[in-house]
């Protein structure tokens, strides 16, 4: 059985401080009225009572990252020739992300199937992914917008994590999920946790029991394809959508990006930055044609990708982790659960003749 260790709440910062000696450590904290993941700072309070406003997506998939630095210069022998020197910039070092929730961390497994597949590997993603460990907090309460149990997960799902931390009286019970996780449990601040195991199991069970019955989404991939060409359906469900990127950028499973060259004078960088399918420019073609000209087309893609196209390509796995941020942070209250259920329930009107 994997070792379990107990960490007193009062020792949390000291422990993270120890881990920060050799790793970049990220932990959730208040910035203004939002809780975001930021580099660990012993001077600032960590906030882990509830899920963060934004997930730790950026720790492995930054909002923007340099891929290549480049510099133009003139050939002194032939001034009409412009030379370009380019240098790849690969992420360095190891990182530990503390305080993500099971949904947040499981989100990265959706990235893995795309960025670290047998056919292709994204070296930038892989460099961070391989060098980042996750100490994940099991949830001891749920929110109205939580639906991890709809998408084959749970408030204590360890998928993608290295250590699962369960809140128990006075602290956290830390369970190693991977070998890498086990190697992080050597600090003298940690004590034997075997006696807390039952309490942790109870916390996990109580939260799981508090969730209502999840609907069956098995038909979602097929039903979403059936309504693909039904523009009226998508116009209705997207009517209130503002077509902004809040849902996408707060989504632990949205992995689309843009690549731009940002040049100043003779120097510049090729960067990769978050992009989102709710933006009109996302599918704008050089010809001026846009295959997704309206928000109805765009929201269809967002829902379809997660609940139909991705599962069809990846053994039925739904590319949504059920964290609910897209619902609670949507300025217009668009609810992805409602849209998926509407598509599943949709019956085309039968016309006689």
């Amino acid at each position: 059985m994997a070792p379990v260790k107990y960490l007193k709440s009062t020792d949390l910062k000291s422990w993270l401080g120890e881990l920060a000696q050799e790793n970049r450590v990220f932990a959730p904290r208040y910035e203004g009225d939002a809780v975001i993941f930021a580099p660990f700072d012993p001077e600032q309070e960590i906030f882990i009572k509830y899920a963060a406003t934004a997930p730790p997506k950026k720790t492995v998939f930054p909002q923007s990252e340099k891929l290549v630095d480049f510099m133009y210069s003139k050939d002194p022998e032939d001034l009409s020739r412009i030379l370009i020197e380019a240098k790849e910039v690969l992420p360095q070092g190891t990182a530990i992300v503390f305080g993500g929730r099971p949904c947040d961390v499981r989100g990265f497994t959706m990235f893995d199937r795309v960025y670290m597949s047998e056919e292709a590997t994204d070296i930038y993603y892989k460099a961070r992914r391989d060098n980042t460990s996750f100490i994940t907090l099991a949830c001891d309460s749920t929110e109205n917008t939580c639906f991890c149990h709809w998408v084959n997960s749970s408030p204590s799902d360890p998928t993608g994590s290295d250590i699962l931390a369960v809140p128990v009286t006075g602290g956290l019970l830390l369970k190693a999920v991977s070998d890498r996780g086990e190697s992080l449990l050597t600090s003298k601040l940690l004590s034997e946790g075997e006696s807390k195991r039952d309490e942790a199991e109870k916390v996990i069970k109580e939260v799981a029991d508090s969730l209502d019955q999840a609907p069956d989404l098995a038909q979602a991939p097929k039903k979403l394809l059936e309504v693909f060409d039904n523009i009226e359906f998508w116009e209705e469900v997207s009517a209130k959508c503002l077509s902004c990127g809040a849902c996408t950028y707060l989504c632990p499973t949205c992995y689309c990006f843009n690549i731009t060259d940002e040049t100043q004078g003779m120097k510049g960088s090729r960067i990769r930055s978050w992009d989102n399918c709710m933006s009109a420019l996302f599918t704008m073609e050089a010809s001026g044609h846009n295959p997704r000209p309206t928000k109805a087309h765009r929201l269809k893609n967002r829902v379809g990708h997660k609940f139909s196209y991705y599962p069809d390509l990846h053994d039925g796995v739904i590319s949504c982790c059920g964290c609910g941020r897209c619902i609670k942070s949507c300025p217009a209250g668009v609810d992805i659960r409602e849209i998926v259920l509407k598509a599943i329930a949709f019956e085309p009107t039968v016309t006689e003749g």
């Binding site: 406003t53 109205n144 209130k240």
Partner: protein, 319 residues
């Protein structure tokens, strides 16, 4: 709300001539409402108006210009409709306006701050004086006046300024509880480096989702925004605070004298950045220089959309 039935009756009467009527209905939890698009008779029953009707539905009007649209407006929302009419971004004959006397809407961010957490709200009852929210089996009673949006405290237009149907009794001229720019004036007392430092800190967490822009009823460049344009290349796509601030400055400049301070930019921000203040600063200057208030007179022209050889309060010759 007592005039909810009257409103539903008016909508029922007008709906056959309209493609859609936009109002509000219940949302994912009892603390939130969501925009409600009424297309069929049976959709009318779900309509709910009250202190949770926070969204400014005028945002949807330019996108529905080719349709016959009905819209339910609070007093402040009606100012956005007026501004859109002034700028000929919507057509009066295609818009049917339903007004009601608004007694204020809540600011969910304040409720969240007061309670610490609103993830599992079970019920929310709002009376004239209080907001009673049950979260995780515990009831919390908050003073409604403290939970109202800031704009409601300085509101002078509780009744829709323009409407085709008005339900309920008009409140009439309201005496604002607070001066227009109280918070801004406190902020202005800080030194420039302090103010700049404030914005760098606040905007650092911006995720560049542009919810602020898309929720804005007067951000009408829509798919041709400087934020993403590569040519001209005003902003880089890097995650640096300089570009984030630059966008906010562009946004504020574009809205100077047009912004009705509905606050949708700030309400929409998923990471709670107080971006409305930048627009208030511009509007305060406009008010002082041009004696102009946006969105109150459909016949007026916003000052920066017009040109005068001699401005009354800009004395260039004396410079």
């Amino acid at each position: 709300m007592k005039f909810q039935k009257e409103l539903k009756d008016s909508i029922r009467k007008a709906l056959p001539e309209l493609d859609v009527v936009i109002g509000w209905c219940g949302s994912f939890d009892p603390l939130h409402a969501t925009p409600h698009f009424i297309r069929r008779e049976e959709d009318i029953d779900k309509l709910e108006i009250g202190p949770l009707s926070v969204h400014n539905l005028a945002t949807y009007l330019p996108g529905l210009r080719s349709k016959k649209v009905g819209i339910v407006v609070k007093g402040c929302d009606s100012r956005s409709v007026i501004e859109l009419l002034q700028e000929k971004l919507i057509d009066r004959e295609n818009v049917t306006i339903f007004g009601f006397p608004c007694t204020g809407v809540v600011d969910q961010a304040k409720i969240k701050k007061a309670l610490g957490h609103v993830g599992n709200v079970q019920s929310c009852d709002i009376s004239d004086k209080s907001v009673v929210v049950v979260v995780g089996d515990q009831a919390h009673s908050l003073k409604l006046s403290e939970m109202l949006a800031d704009k409601c405290h300085s509101c002078r237009y509780p009744d829709a300024i323009i409407s085709d149907y008005f339900v309920g009794d008009k409140i009439g001229d309201a005496v604002p509880a607070k001066a227009d720019y109280e918070a801004l004036e406190t902020f202005e007392k800080l030194s420039i480096p302090e103010r700049f430092g404030y914005w760098l800190k606040e905007l650092d967490r911006c995720i560049r989702c542009y919810a602020c822009r898309n929720a804005c009823p007067l951000c009408v460049c829509r798919d041709h925004c400087a934020a993403e344009s590569r040519d001209p290349h005003w902003l880089s796509q890097e995650n640096n605070v300089r570009d984030k601030l630059m966008f906010q400055v562009i946004h504020a400049y574009h809205l100077a004298g047009r912004c009705t301070e509905c606050g949708e930019c700030q309400r929409a921000c998923p990471v709670d950045i107080p971006v409305l203040m930048l627009k208030q600063q511009m509007n305060k200057e406009i008010r002082d220089i041009f004696k102009y208030e946006a969105g109150v007179d459909p016949e007026a022209t916003p000052p920066l959309l017009s040109f005068k050889m001699e401005e009354e309060n800009i004395t260039e010759k004396d410079w």
